[in-house]
């Protein structure tokens, strides 16, 4: 009971703690004084400490199964493994909101300790925005969804976690999605703070790049785990049903993916400023919309929490956040002008822009399909939108995005030409078309299905694999030529020194592998529903046959598991027994089906027992899903690539990697993150593109000369500025000395003033 009381008080104290931190952050932002800024950094830890105490208390109650608390009684029960008792922390509505508060306060505390360019002005504002967000969630967990609410009388037993949720994927699916959702608060807060301060250059992007990447990775893992859970647990043979809550997690992922790409353009070229602000705002608002849809109960979904009073709270928060961010963007619109415009129709920048348009097109299609049931209900004609709508709109867009993923790496920054791109793309495209058609033909032969879109998807995915592979080979070859290293060492060093770029390429490989899995399983899957009597053999399904050998019962604590023994054969050869089952619960819960899954690299045999009759016959649902495992493997590759991008690296000057530094020596005043360093990075990129044959020689020389000229001019300006500042300091020092001299020389008061004009 003491643990619960401590947690309850920590939760109550959270509100005044956040209120006081809001005041401190506001004072620091307004005065800009070092004292308030220091207090702003310190006070950021207080809400986190309280949230951590409350969370630890709740986890203790869950682990101990203290059924005096409604939340514990609802989500734990006798026999629930420890890992699921801990996972119950974020398994329910109130607990997950406390988890949300914990993570948001931790992020806010970490952000407040940062040091970066202009952090003196930006951080208090960022902390203020994050504290305002936290205040909302803290209010909700205190007022509407308190995880420490007690039952009038302690329950004798817990309700137990829904058996469908006792799955390894489901343990972390919600936590990953939440971490993704919460993480986007940080780049959004930075974007708004930058906008308020008119700091719309790429500082906020550079500072928040890791936050965005981590959040995006968590959201991606959450989506993939969710699909995996759906596939293995729900027993319908698929992994993505375009369910409203699935869509709610996909929507911010789509805009965040677009943002990750367009942010590169702003960092490199100072373009798409307004676009990036709008994208990150949209991403944040879509995370709020997703939370609203999941927790309000306005749309039915297997993933959603039951109807509750939270809907109106979240609707209000979405409204306020939308209005405030839209107003700030409108007021500061003029500061969002790009530093330069597109130089050519064919360039990497335009490729990124096109990619963004496709992602946004997909976002709006999914958003419209998701909210259409609500809109139509308000209009008086309730209608639902099914998977065919989503597939029809999104699959062609996905194929186009894949093609762009393949073409993108072959296009140079700033300026390229259609013939040059055509030349570099021609052979990879021809080879990929050959491989893709062969794969599609093999699948058609095996599963007797045809689809032009599926074939196009396979060709596009193979194209991505080929071009990304080629990119690795070309870069390693160029490095070997420059450094004389061995190929493996060169590959390791290449990836290690350009983690962002090559991590991104590994992610592209992962996406291509997943696309092959999605095209294979989506287009070529085969299913059969058949009633079998004991001893009877099923019709062949893609080479598999099952003989129903009988049934068995396993009695567990509070459960009764009825399973069927199916002897599986493929091409006449016995493989073994598959045991689809159904579990019945003595405590009134709905029975669940247990899928029997035989996974091989090229296909999954997926069997569900959907009914029995007196133990003599049973109805089975057989599915053969080709290449579905590739989706999960692609997911792992995707995670690995993002981890490579995220891996902390030693920060280096771009010129250290390329011979360009030798040309300009001894002028090496560029520091990381400065404009000169950006120019060096552009130069390095140009050299790389030149070596890879993406830029024609004349264009390369022209751009190189221009960059050298700009670097020299910038360095000269830097030297002038430094000289001028040093003279000013020297003059002031002389003035102080002269005043500090004997009485006739005057007083020692410091009296300089005036600014540079």
């Amino acid at each position: 009971m003491l643990t619960g009381t401590i947690g309850e008080w920590a939760l109550r104290l959270l509100l005044p703690a956040i209120a006081s931190s809001i005041c401190v952050h506001a004072a620091a932002a307004k005065t800009g004084s070092p004292g308030w800024r220091r207090r702003s950094r310190q006070v950021a830890w207080l809400p986190f400490a309280l949230a951590a105490v409350a969370s630890a208390a709740l986890i203790c109650l869950l682990v101990r199964e203290d059924w005096a608390y409604a939340y514990v009684a609802e989500y734990t029960g006798s026999g629930l493994p420890l890992i699921y008792r801990i996972a119950a922390f974020w398994g329910g509505n109130a607990g997950s909101l406390l988890f949300w508060v914990l993570m948001l306060t931790l992020y806010a505390a970490v952000v407040a300790q940062a040091h970066h360019e202009d952090s003196e002005r930006m951080l208090p504002l960022v902390s203020l925005i994050l504290a305002l967000m936290t205040a909302f969630y803290a209010l909700v967990v205190n007022v509407v969804a308190n995880p420490f609410a007690r039952l009038p009388h302690p329950a004798e037993a817990g309700n137990g976690l829904n058996p469908l949720l006792q799955h390894p994927g489901m343990t972390v699916h919600p936590v990953n999605v939440y971490l993704g959702y919460i993480g986007f608060s940080v780049p959004f807060a930075y974007a708004m703070a930058g906008l308020w301060l008119r700091r719309t250059d790429s500082v906020w992007l550079t500072v928040t790049r890791r936050w965005t990447l981590v959040s995006w990775l968590f959201l991606s893992i959450g989506i993939v785990y969710g699909a995996h859970w759906s596939y293995e647990e729900l027993g319908w043979g698929g992994y993505w049903a375009w369910d409203p809550v699935e869509n709610a997690s996909l929507l911010p992922w789509l805009t965040a993916t677009a943002f990750l790409h367009s942010a590169i353009v702003q960092e490199r070229r100072g373009m798409l400023k307004a676009w990036n602000i709008v994208l990150i705002t949209l991403t944040y608002l879509l995370t709020l919309l997703g939370t609203f849809l999941t927790r309000s109960g306005v749309l039915w979904s297997i993933h959603a929490f039951a109807n509750g009073p939270l809907g109106i709270w979240f609707a209000a928060f979405v409204g306020v956040a939308t209005a405030a961010s839209a107003a700030l963007i409108a007021v500061r619109w003029r500061t969002l002008r790009a530093d330069r415009s597109f130089e050519a129709v064919v360039s990497k920048e335009t490729g990124f822009m096109l990619n963004n348009v496709l992602f946004l097109g997909s976002t709006f299609a999914v958003l419209w399909g998701t909210v259409y049931p609500l809109v139509s209900e308000w209009a008086g004609q309730p209608m639902v939108v099914g998977p065919p709508f989503y597939n029809k709109v999104n699959l062609p867009l996905a194929v186009c995005i894949l093609l762009l993923m393949g073409i993108g790496p072959m296009v140079a920054w700033r300026r390229s030409s259609a013939p040059a791109v055509g030349r570099t793309v021609l052979y990879p495209m021809l080879i990929s078309t050959g491989f893709g058609l062969a794969l599609s033909g093999w699948l058609e032969h095996q599963y007797h299905h045809q689809s032009a879109l599926g074939t196009a998807g396979l060709v596009a995915a193979v194209f991505v694999l080929w071009t990304v592979g080629q990119e690795f080979v070309q870069a390693v070859r160029a490095r070997v030529r420059l450094t004389g290293e061995s190929w493996p060492l060169s590959l390791v060093r290449l990836v290690s020194r350009h983690r962002r770029r090559y991590g991104g390429y590994i992610v592209h490989l992962g996406v291509a592998v997943m696309a092959i899995g999605i095209a294979g399983s989506g287009v070529f899957h085969v299913d059969l529903e058949q009633q079998l009597r004991v001893g009877q053999t099923s019709a062949p399904v893609a080479g598999y046959q099952a003989t129903f050998a009988g049934m068995g019962v396993e009695q567990g604590p509070g459960t009764r598991r009825l399973y069927a023994n199916l002897v599986i054969r493929r091409d006449g050869q016995v493989l073994g027994l598959l045991r689809p089952a159904a579990t019945f619960y003595s405590d009134g819960q709905q029975p669940t089906t247990d899928v029997a899954l035989y996974s091989r690299p090229l296909r999954d045999l997926y069997v569900v027992m959907i009914g029995t009759s007196q133990g003599e016959s049973a109805v089975f649902d057989f599915h053969v899903n080709p290449l579905v495992q590739w989706i999960w493997w692609g997911g792992y590759l995707f995670i690995a690539g993002t981890i490579v991008s995220l891996w902390p690296e030693r920060r280096q000057l771009a010129q250290a990697t390329w011979p360009a530094a030798a040309v300009l020596a001894p002028v090496t005043t560029a520091v990381d993150g400065s404009d000169a360093a950006d120019l060096y990075a552009q130069w390095a990129e140009l050299e790389y593109d030149h070596l890879a044959g993406k830029v024609p020689p004349d264009m390369y020389r022209r751009q190189r000369d221009e960059l050298i000229m700009r670097i020299r001019a910038m360095d000269a300006a830097s030297i002038d500025l430094r000289t001028s500042l040093e003279s000013e300091v020297e003059a002031a020092v002389q003035e102080v000395r002269s005043r500090a001299a004997p009485p006739e020389a005057g007083d020692a008061a410091l009296g300089w003033g005036g600014g540079r004009s």
Binding site: H116, V214, V567, Y598, G615, L646, G755
Partner: protein, 324 residues
Amino acid sequence: MGERLGPPTRGQVRCSRVAKVVVFACAAAASTALAAPPPRALAGAGVEVTREQVMLVPAPVVRKVEVLQVLTVSNRGPAASDLTVSVPAGASAVRAAVSRAGTGGNVAAPARSVSVAHGRIRLTNAVQAGASATVTVTYTVPFTSSDGAGIVLHLDYPVDMAYLYIPVGRFALSAPGLQLTTQTVTLSGLRFRVFSRPAVPAGSDWPVDVEVLPDAGPGATGADVKGLPVIGTDDTGRANSAQALGNLALAAFIFALGLVGVRRASRPTAGRPATTAEALYRSWEQVERLRAAGVLDETDYQRRREQLKQRLVAMRLAETREDA
């Protein structure tokens, strides 16, 4: 059909729109009225059910469920009241009886009359003013699916606490609003699992599903599958927990990696100026650039450059003193 003489005027368009709205509204109102359920007589004022006990005994061989419903009813109203109890659709062998309890003690007495019509049992003058009574209703419902029956319980009176009894063993029960915990009791040598639900609203439908758990039956696994390996994913509890732990570890690793990366990236390590003076000069240069870019307003610019300049001058003076 009249001949169209020209484009409609703005007034005509407006009238047409108004007419459409009116017609739509009338149609909506009419359809709502037609679709609405017929008015139902209100339950007797002051009558409430303090306890409802429903025993459900499935008989799979004859594919029926025997139902015994016992209601403890109290009447706080000023006059004796009739009682109406709904029985589920398809119910047969319906019987009902009332035993009344007076204010001075339990006095069993039959109701004056019991009538059954249209799925409703009417017990005339069943409960006296200020008294309570026990109503017992029995009936049988057939299986509505291959393995069970769906029954909808309905009372016109509010129920303080409802209990559902089902024999422990081969039967499963599901119904909305049940409490988290269940108990077991033995009645006439038969063990029942007791589910409970507090505060059932008056006039609400309460669907209850009773299901016979399937049996392995005569097709139970024989010796012909012995020796064959069980293929397919390992779904045992241990494998499940291990995978869950692995997934959590991965999430924790990414989280830690992200935080470490963020911390390291936000520390001015690489490219860090060798001296404090160099750092101050760089900050000052940055202030000048921000001002030139129009990001800093004049007051902020002056304040920041003065701070930096003062610190640089102070450092220079301190260095001079040390040298001296």
